[in-house]
């Protein structure tokens, strides 16, 4: 088990962007889109078999041809100004059907990613995920940040639409937990001397248990990625999936009783400090087809 590199690209102090699945798949969609925008070229992978049970077997005429595992791939790309490494993990190494990694395997996976970052002289790592917030679904999601050192705080808030977690309503202490590898990786990066930032796109609290992605938040995160990299990008390709999800969410919203809708709509002018009864009441209107059997967690700050 280890890291397999197909080639060693010549990179100068690259930034690394990392995505794993999580609530609304906000981070992984953003990193995947960034990979496509930059036309990232695959150059290595973390061998999967010690982390995951295979998904699929291919047996043909009595001969075992192959097993398919969730992939964990590294890509590299170059912008006008910077070299970039992207890492996309299709699954978090977790037990018992849980979505989020924990324990020794998670720590091991995080260290392998950092091994590659260090080998190529990377000094900055960005992970991303979801920030579960009491916002209205028609509002543009902000990007909430957690950083690994004081010096990054000012820098991160210079980017548009980005706030530190402590600046969010009701979270003045800036405390919470980022569940799974999108959080753990930052801790391991810090321990091994790398600067790290987690950029979390806001998702309305009542939608955090839904099984569909939340691309509006991915767009917010992607805009921040683009600003960090000094890119002018057209994110029009997200419109189709945003439209599809919006249609689904609006169909739930249309079923809210009028007094509930009125209360919920107050979020447009002022977000409540904390999720309240309306969060739970709204979840009732999510069609069963779109509910996932979740294990809680996610990148939800407490």
């Amino acid at each position: 088990m280890g890291i397999k590199l197909y080639k060693k690209p010549d990179l100068e102090k690259p930034m690394m962007f990392v995505g794993w699945p999580g609530i609304g798949n906000i981070g992984i969609i953003a990193v995947n889109a960034l990979k496509d925008i930059l036309r990232g070229e695959e150059f290595g992978e973390i061998e999967s078999w010690d982390f995951f049970y295979p998904r699929k077997v291919f047996i043909q005429n009595g001969l075992l041809k192959d097993l398919e595992f969730p992939s964990n791939k590294f890509y590299h790309a170059r912008t006008e100004k910077k070299d970039v490494i992207l890492f996309i993990g299709e699954e978090q190494p977790a037990f018992g059907g849980r979505m989020y990694a924990s324990g020794e395997k998670a720590y091991e996976m995080a260290n392998l990613v950092i091994d590659v970052a260090l080998q190529f002289g990377c000094q900055r790592i960005y992970t991303s995920g979801a920030c579960v917030s009491p916002i209205h679904h028609q509002m543009k999601p902000r990007v909430c940040a957690i950083v690994s050192s004081e010096e990054l705080k000012e820098e991160v808030t210079r980017t548009s639409n980005t706030v530190l977690m402590s600046e969010l309503e009701g979270r003045s202490e800036g405390e919470g937990v980022i569940t799974g590898l999108n959080g753990l990786l930052l801790g391991v990066a810090k321990k091994r001397g790398l600067l790290g930032t987690c950029l979390m796109g806001e998702i309305p609290d009542w939608l955090s248990g839904a099984s569909f992605p939340y691309p509006r938040a991915s767009r917010s995160v992607l805009e921040v990625f683009a600003e960090i990299l000094g890119l002018q990008v057209d994110l029009g390709f997200l419109e189709k999936i945003e439209g599809q999800i919006e249609e689904i969410v609006e169909s739930f919203y249309a079923k809210f009783p009028s007094e509930m809708k009125e209360e919920y709509d107050q979020r447009k002018s002022k977000a409540p400090l904390k999720p309240g009864p309306i969060t739970v009441r709204a979840q009732v209107f999510i069609d069963d087809r779109f509910k996932k059997g979740g294990d809680g967690g996610g990148e939800s700050p407490s």
């Binding site: 280890g2 397999k4 010690d50 047996i59 043909q60 009595g62 001969l63």
Partner: protein, 282 residues
């Protein structure tokens, strides 16, 4: 290709305790899983082999890290604890491993089994024993479907009464094991013996006999399998009585015998009736 960092070796984390070193000369390794086995196939085959060939328990794979131990399972009112043991049948040069399926660290578990079988006992090839659900009647013959991890190994086993499996989907633990075995250069095969779905929870002596017949021939075991003829006949008689008493069940089994499919309700009913019958008359 570069490997930057190696993980902790499986063997360091999951030691195998070896009680005694058997007198084996590059044996074949037989593996059976007892956690979700169908028709009690693997455990009965292994028990029979050990009993008839004087199998000695020689080693144990320690369970730590592979099972939750958050409590204890029980089945048929009996406490179950995960066990993973190696046996040696020295007379016929067979190494046997019977185990519960691990709950965690599948790769390390399977790799450790193969690593120890290879390094301590010089196992030359591996065969896993499995049952597979089939929509056949108990009165019909059981086919042995096979999967090999190397073409040469497959070619070398022509002439046996086996059929080739073709399948794409979620892998069983035995397929994962064959894949790892191939990476280690160990030839391997899995036997997937058909079990009528309504015998899956009970014993299927016919499938067990078919499996033992294959092993008998392949490894020249010289085993007398006549006791299974008796067990098959008894089971057939019991189900025949049920068919006489219950025309609906009789009709359902006859449709299977004619190659027709059953709906979910019919399947459940047949399974329950037969399972209750065989449980009662144990």
């Amino acid at each position: 290709m570069t490997v930057l960092r190696k993980g902790v070796m499986a063997a360091e984390k999951a030691p195998v305790e070896i009680y005694q070193t058997p007198n084996l000369d590059h044996p074949s390794l037989l593996i059976g899983w007892q956690t979700h086995e169908l028709g009690k196939l693997a455990s009965t085959v292994i028990h029979f082999l050990n009993e008839r060939m004087g199998g000695r328990e020689i080693a144990e794979l320690k369970p730590f890290g592979f099972y939750s131990f958050g409590g204890i399972r029980f089945k048929h009112d009996l406490v179950q604890i995960p066990v993973s043991h190696f046996w040696a049948c020295e007379k016929k040069n067979l190494l046997i491993f019977k185990s519960d399926e691990p709950e965690f660290e599948y790769y390390q578990f399977l790799n450790t089994v193969l690593e120890r079988a290879e390094s301590h006992f010089q196992a030359k090839d591996v065969t896993t024993l499995n049952g597979t659900f089939s929509f056949i009647a108990h009165t019909q013959p059981r086919r042995i479907l096979t999967v090999f991890n190397q073409n040469e190994f497959k070619e070398g086993l022509q002439g046996y009464d086996i059929e080739e499996l073709t399948w794409e989907g979620p892998p069983a633990l035995s397929s994962y094991l064959l894949w790892i075995a191939n990476r280690r250069g160990i030839p391997g095969m899995s036997l997937w013996v058909e079990i009528p779905f309504y015998l899956a929870e009970s014993e299927d002596p016919q499938a067990i006999k078919v499996t033992l017949s294959f092993l008998n021939k392949r490894f020249n075991l010289d085993l007398d399998l006549s006791e299974f003829d008796l067990r098959i006949r008894k089971q057939h008689e019991r189900i025949a009585r049920l068919r006489e008493e219950n025309t609906e069940i009789n009709d359902t089994i006859r449709r299977l015998e004619n190659g027709l499919m059953l709906n979910d309700e019919e399947q459940s009913k047949l399974t329950k009736e037969v399972h209750d019958l065989l449980k009662e008359e144990k």
